[in-house]
Symmetry: C2
Subunit: 316 residues, 2 copies
């Protein structure tokens, strides 16, 4: 696998994902097309296809499942954006901003049923649907904990990582596992790739926490203001509440009056107190653990290791 | 089948439905329990169980599917109540009223995944999931049309009935069809019961339109005010726009200033102009067509005919 290979797989995904729902009420076809063609890194479907291929199936065979996984991911984004009051996504207005909350709820619901239909229509193993459905509940639970944590002052790092594993890890885990199922991989390989995906997902989410506070790009930092004001927990924020509780509280309070000044203070505090360094270490530790897991499996894992590199190198 | 039999089946459903999600984030377990134990007539799961039994399976065998159908129905209610801004359901505050919109969105999502998990966990035929998933998309489409119609002045009766078939008919159709699948019924029986359910669903929804405007009970009339103010279409309202366009427009405008006076005017107009009579006729025609469909099938349809009677006789 190389950059050109990834680009080719992305093109395959993008060429199919916009045509999945051509007929239906205009209020749904237009919102679903809007969401599914808005871009994004397509990391989850890439993982499904790379996983399947690493286990001996061709990329094309994994495409329906890959699309289902990407639609599931986008379903969660549409609904989460309502809950988190986020106004932009991929540099465009979110569905509830551009249309309204009702349309966004229904768009998500219909997208989920499209994803399920893709899995049903194919002559695919029954396990695919079970993994997908269990994953869906776990993702909902992760989002529920994330919301619960907003109003709880002291969240332990363990509780936070558990929430991340549910909300983000499970989705990357099922993306990898579904690829292995398609290739009819043995159970140790299947569960190995699932656990690899979960660890990568954990690293990915904590990377998000880090990128969001330091990135100036349009892609990241999109919801930082609302996150701080909503009291959203992040890996860095929890470390700060443990290490520098007084200082971080002042910086958060400053945000209420002066969002830019407060943000800058938070950025500086995170660096000075070594929180950024610890966070980067945590990300690398998880990616390394994920990679070690792969190398113990009886497959050629070079493409999956390339996928890990993609995650490691990302800056948006 | 008789009243005691129905009561017994309802008890079976109610005894199981509250225990389906005992462990998870408290913000989800409490809302899901709240929704699933709030009561309701349990008509859809009753249809699944009666359908299965009429095709030769025992009631118990159909219980998981019946529960999945009832949870799917409640998922649509939770999300629709947000979209329709309804404040009460079964005499209790709706989820988004009692908690908030985010909790209600997530509650619906998690309920849907519970329903899917029930269908996955059982050693059930693959067709069950296909029917369920297709039905889910149709229900979303029905709700999308319902919302679209709010802002369109002239909706034909055909368009309205098509929307009702998607939104309500498909769910009762799949409830019946899933029962037939569980009993491994022949395709003509399976599709016959599906079409029976769809016609019953159509009658049921138009009954709702009628009951909502004349009932004084807590159960019905719950959202009439918001329905009129949102410009929600009903079977009666569409007949009125055709038959007495000027008079009904005045009554609707009166509602803006004086909701009770306007409501009374609408009630009287519907009676005087024969709209109530035509609506009742439409309901009866559909129930009769549904029943005729049954009697042509190679099964003992007496319990399903009893189910039709339940619908015919209902007053809430």
């Amino acid at each position: 696998m190389n950059e050109a290979g990834i680009t080719q797989l992305r093109s395959l995904i993008n060429s199919r994902i916009g045509e999945l729902y051509p007929e239906g009420p205009i209020s749904l076809t237009k919102t679903i097309e809007y969401v599914l063609t808005a871009g994004g890194k397509r990391l989850r479907p890439l993982l499904t296809m790379i996983s399947a291929n690493s286990c001996g199936a061709n990329f094309e065979k994994a495409l329906p499942s890959a699309l289902a996984v990407e639609i599931l991911h986008n379903f969660t984004l549409v609904h989460d954006d309502i809950m988190d009051e986020d106004q932009t996504r991929h540099g465009k207005p979110t569905v509830h901003e551009k249309w309204d909350v009702g349309s966004a709820i229904l768009t998500g619901d219909a997208m989920l049923s499209l994803a399920l239909l893709i899995l049903q229509e194919e002559e695919t193993p029954r396990d695919l649907m079970t993994v997908f459905t269990k994953g869906l509940l776990r993702v909902c639970e992760g989002q529920a904990f994330d919301k619960e944590f907003e109003t709880i002052k002291n969240i332990s790092l363990d509780d936070y990582v558990n929430m991340v594993d549910l909300k983000t890890g499970h989705l990357l885990g099922l993306a990898g596992e579904m690829g292995a199922i398609i290739a009819d991989a043995d159970l140790p390989v299947r569960y190995g790739i699932r656990d690899y995906g979960r660890l990568i997902g954990r690293a990915f989410q904590v990377q998000d926490d880090l990128l969001e506070i330091y990135s100036n790009s349009d892609n990241m930092g999109k919801s930082l203001n609302s996150d701080i004001l909503l009291g959203k927990k992040t890996y860095l924020m929890i470390l700060a509440k443990n290490r520098i509780p007084v200082e971080i509280q002042s910086a958060i309070e400053l945000c209420q009056e002066d969002i830019n000044g407060g943000k800058k203070a938070i950025q500086e505090l995170f660096i000075e107190s070594g929180i950024v360094k610890s966070t980067k270490q945590f990300i690398m530790d998880n990616i390394e653990e994920a990679n070690t897991m792969l190398t113990n499996l009886d497959i050629d894992c070079s493409d999956l290791l390339y996928f890990s590199d993609l995650i490691t190198r990302r800056n948006n």
